[in-house]
């Protein structure tokens, strides 16, 4: 039966690869469709037609689109993401550090947000249709809907400017101890948490309500099992698959959708790198960033599906 599981996973991975190929093509042509190019962006106000043409030629931007796509895609196959047109460094070296930063921020946010969301969602599922449930529902909607730059700025004003408890910037270079690490990350993480906890809690609630109304949960109650044990022993194994799906969607947002938090807290992550590279039309960099986001999204959703396969497979050995 392991072979069957293997085939199922392979099929899922294959499907993701199809999406990825589509994304590779789409990203290239989308970015090629962006008006303006890196030559103009580098020259700025000093862009005269001659200068632009000369710079374009020196950056080999005057080659036909398909030729550039071929050489770029060829490089991708060899694992070469190309050179940045702006800084003349290899794209990988520029992305590498930023990606680590982003993963760090996403990781910490996950550590904080997932348990919170699970707890909130589970509690409101247990106490469904009570005042508590309603309050959680309204509150989570509120924090989701209020723009995150407002949440972030308000947090900085209160905790950094007024109370001087936390630094206003989350500069990686200032982190020397656990204390400064926690101080630097607390506000960005809380802001990001606001954005994703709401949705995750809502979806967790939906999944939980479904499971909690099943007759085997009632059976467990009638066996005298305590509520905590019911949630941990009986409910959790059954909601792993859907919850992983919820989490995958939220986490993929944490990599690509955090531009605002990165810029408010001056955090050098990959999302602001992409916005930057779009602004400077550094196409190889844009493409790499977009590919990373897409790959992360596909990876996470695939992972969620594989977990789902596993959790049902484990029980269907017969």
């Amino acid at each position: 039966m392991n072979a069957k599981l293997g085939i199922a996973i392979a099929r899922r991975l294959g499907a993701s690869c199809v999406s990825l190929v589509f994304v590779v093509v789409a990203v290239f042509f989308i970015t090629s469709a962006l008006p303006g190019d890196v030559a103009q962006s580098l020259l700025g106000q000093a862009a005269t037609p001659d200068a632009v043409a000369a710079l374009r030629h020196s950056l080999r931007l005057d080659e036909p689109v398909l030729l550039r796509f071929a050489s770029w895609a060829g490089g991708l196959l060899r694992g070469d993401f190309g050179m940045s047109l702006v800084s003349h460094q290899s794209v990988m070296s520029m992305v590498h550090e930023r990606l680590l930063h982003s993963l760090l921020l996403a990781g910490i946010t996950t550590l904080f947000a997932v348990p919170t969301a699970l707890l909130l969602g589970t509690l409101s599922a247990i106490f469904r249709n009570t005042v508590f449930d309603r309050c959680v529902s309204v509150l989570t909607l509120c924090v989701v809907s209020v723009p995150e730059f407002l949440v972030a700025t308000l947090a900085v004003l209160v905790f950094a400017v007024q109370l001087h408890l936390l630094p206003a910037l989350a500069s990686i270079s200032d982190i020397h101890s656990i204390g400064s690490f926690l101080a630097a990350f607390s506000m960005p993480v809380a802001t990001l948490g606001c954005v994703i906890v709401g949705q995750m809690a809502r979806m967790t609630r939906a999944v939980m309500v479904n499971v909690l109304s099943s007759s085997w949960v009632e059976m467990a109650v009638l066996k005298g099992v305590s509520p905590t044990a019911i949630i941990l022993r009986h409910v959790l194994p059954n909601v792993v698959a859907p919850l992983f799906n919820v989490m995958a969607l939220s986490l993929s947002y944490l990599l690509g959708g955090v531009v605002i938090v990165e810029s408010v807290f001056h955090y050098p992550g990959i999302a602001s790198l992409m916005v930057d590279s779009v602004a400077s039309r550094d196409i190889p960099l844009v493409q790499t960033c977009a590919l990373i986001f897409c790959a992360a999204y596909l990876l996470l959703t695939t992972l969620a599906d594989v977990v789902a396969l596993f959790s049902t497979q484990e029980r269907s050995r017969a």
Binding site: R128, S213, S214, W216, L222, K223, V225, S316, A318
Partner: protein, 597 residues
């Protein structure tokens, strides 16, 4: 009864339960119910769905479902005052002092945990036994319950066991803490009659050995007769009658009880003579299966194996068999939603294509399917009127209000039902709408897949009555699939007995009562519970329980061989021949008439 009997173990006084939906007003579910259960006694709570019997049973454990609550009354169970207990007291009370066996074991076990984990959980939770001893005890209970491979069955997951096995495992789970009170909530309703006997016997063995006090919730009077000492009859949340089982079954005093008893008695509804006619539907050597196609042109796994059935115009053909025998697959194949790999079908003389898409509009209109579960068949988002009107307009029938009312009247529903949604209807009403949906198309043949299985006895009886009336009025033919032999006998002209995809016997309904009969038919016959208390003992004495693993079906021999009490050597090697008995029955067996009497 007598003056100095010991104090009752369970005392219920003036119990009132209320409940409400998310935002609706509170309604009374159970009002003013009182009864006692003495130690070691088994009390039956009898009632139809909605009578509040399950709510009362749950209330004994101090539990009320979401939206419900115990409004007032006194509940004393084994010295505990259930209503005054706090949350933690209730937790240590449940599972330890009082155990519960749910109706549908398939749903009541956690699909993600191995069975053993769940069985020993009460013992571990209440710190009655350490894990190791709990496992040993569970295995001992499995043995007592006559479960196959008691040592390893605990490692399985719920979906790896059959319904009957799960029900017995659940009983083991209830008994592992040796509780003083066990509640059985319709534990055999979802089971086949043959399995039901095994489970009931297992329960009785457990009762004798463990000596608990029981409350048995059911709607089946025949089971009450086997299991209970005393019975309480409930209707709409209030007690109708209470008394010893024998008195309730034989000398009911209340009209409702009498009605219940009457509905449980088998009686013949189909009095018409068999009209001689050519087959309306002719199924010839049908093969249905799934999996890779084998060299012989058939799929790897066959579900329906070479079945031939003729359905004559205006007659009712019944198909009976236990779950998994292929009767639903057969009917789906006829309906055109299950592809078949071999054989032919003719409808009104015309060949019937396998795929519904390839059938002519007339064929689609004249062949209607009424599926088992009315909840799934009726679109919850459409009103009854909208559903029926769509059928009428689709077949270019008159879709006026008058026509709609005629259709509703056909199934004896008031015109007001047209404006309601499926969720606002009772189970019986839904099944009537389901029938109406098929009948609105003016079909010539209606395929009914277990349409009474999910209904209460009284409601099911009414549906069967309706079927026969419609047969007379409209001249509709019916193909009636069921596992209920009573229902089958009462409405069918011909009967086909299906076992493991084979048609083992085909006869007229009347011939089914007289020998010679196929061994499986006889087994089915004897498994139908009867309303006299000694029935179960008699059956067990006669057949014996056959626990343990059932041998696989031989590749070339008779499909019933592994379970056949009269099997001979030939059965394992050669396929049984089909021969005609004097009664006209076609029997598929190696043995001949004298041996099968």
């Amino acid at each position: 009864m007598s003056g100095h009997s010991p104090p009752p173990l369970i005392t219920v006084r003036n119990l009132c339960l209320t409940g409400r939906r998310a935002t609706g007003p509170e309604t009374t579910i159970v009002s003013n119910v009182s009864f006692d259960v003495a130690e070691g006694e088994m009390l039956a709570l009898i009632g139809e769905s909605g009578s509040g019997k399950t709510s009362i049973a749950l209330a004994l454990t101090g539990y009320a479902r979401t939206g419900c609550r115990i409004a007032q009354g006194e509940l004393r169970v084994a010295g505990h005052d259930v209503r005054t207990m706090g949350a933690s007291e209730l937790r240590s009370f449940r599972g330890k002092t009082i155990a519960y066996i749910a109706q549908n074991a398939g749903a009541a076990f956690n699909p993600a945990l191995p069975l053993m984990e769940q069985v020993i959980e009460p013992a571990l939770t209440h710190h009655i036994l350490p894990r190791k001893e709990a496992v040993d005890h569970a295995i001992a209970l499995f043995e007592m319950m006559a479960l196959p491979t008691p040592h390893t069955i605990g490692a399985r997951y719920p979906h790896e066991c059959s319904g009957g096995q799960l029900q017995r495992i659940m009983a083991a789970m209830a008994l592992i803490t040796e509780p003083e009170v066990v509640i059985f909530d319709e534990p055999t309703t979802a089971l086949d009659v043959t399995t039901q006997i095994e489970v009931l016997e297992a329960f009785r063995v457990a009762m004798r050995q463990c000596g608990f006090t029981g409350v048995y919730v059911t709607h089946d009077l025949a089971i009450v007769a086997q299991m209970a000492d005393r019975a309480v009859v409930l209707k709409n949340g209030s007690v109708q009658e209470e008394g010893p089982t024998g008195q309730i079954l034989n000398k009911p005093t209340q009209s409702y009880t009498r009605q219940l008893v009457a509905a449980s008695q088998p009686h013949l509804r189909n009095h018409d003579a068999l009209p001689p006619a050519t087959p309306l539907l002719d199924v010839q050597n049908l093969m249905v299966g799934y999996g890779a196609i084998m060299p012989n042109g058939h799929p790897r796994h066959t579900i329906v194996n070479s079945v031939s059935l003729p359905v004559r115009a205006g007659e009712t053909l019944g198909i009976i068999g236990e779950s998994g025998c292929g009767k639903s697959t057969l009917i789906r194949a006829i309906a055109g939603i299950q592809p078949w790999s071999g054989g032919n079908m003719f409808f009104a003389g015309e060949p019937l294509p396998p795929r519904i898409e390839d059938r002519t509009p007339q064929q689609r209109q004249h062949l209607q399917l009424v599926a088992q579960n009315a909840d799934l068949v009726l679109n919850p988002a459409l009103s009854v009127g909208a559903t029926l009107r769509r059928v009428l307009t689709f077949y270019n029938e008159d879709a006026s209000d008058a026509a709609l009312n005629r259709v509703l009247d056909m199934v004896r529903l008031p015109a007001a039902v047209a404006g309601r949604y499926p969720t606002q209807l009772s189970g019986g009403q839904k099944q009537r709408v389901n029938l109406a949906r098929a009948l609105a198309a003016r079909p010539r043949l209606v395929l009914c897949d277990e349409i009474t299985a999910a209904l209460d006895t009284v409601v099911a009886a009414a549906i069967l009555d309706l079927m026969m009336e419609l047969k007379r009025e409209l001249g509709v033919s019916w193909l009636f699939v069921t596992h209920d032999l009573h229902a089958l006998r009462s409405v069918c002209d011909h009967v086909a007995v299906l076992y493991a995809g084979h048609c083992v016997e085909f006869s007229t309904a009347s011939a089914l009562n007289a020998p010679p009969r196929h061994p499986y038919t006889r087994k089915l016959e004897s498994s139908v519970p009867e309303m006299h208390p000694g029935w179960l003992d008699g059956v067990i004495r006669q057949n014996g329980l056959k626990p343990g693993r059932v041998a696989p079906i031989p590749a070339h021999g008779c499909c019933y061989m592994p379970r056949c009490p009269v099997a001979v050597a030939d059965c394992a090697q050669t396929p049984p021949p089909t021969w005609q008995a004097p009664s006209g029955a076609l029997i598929n067996c190696h043995l001949q008439a004298p041996d099968l009497s």
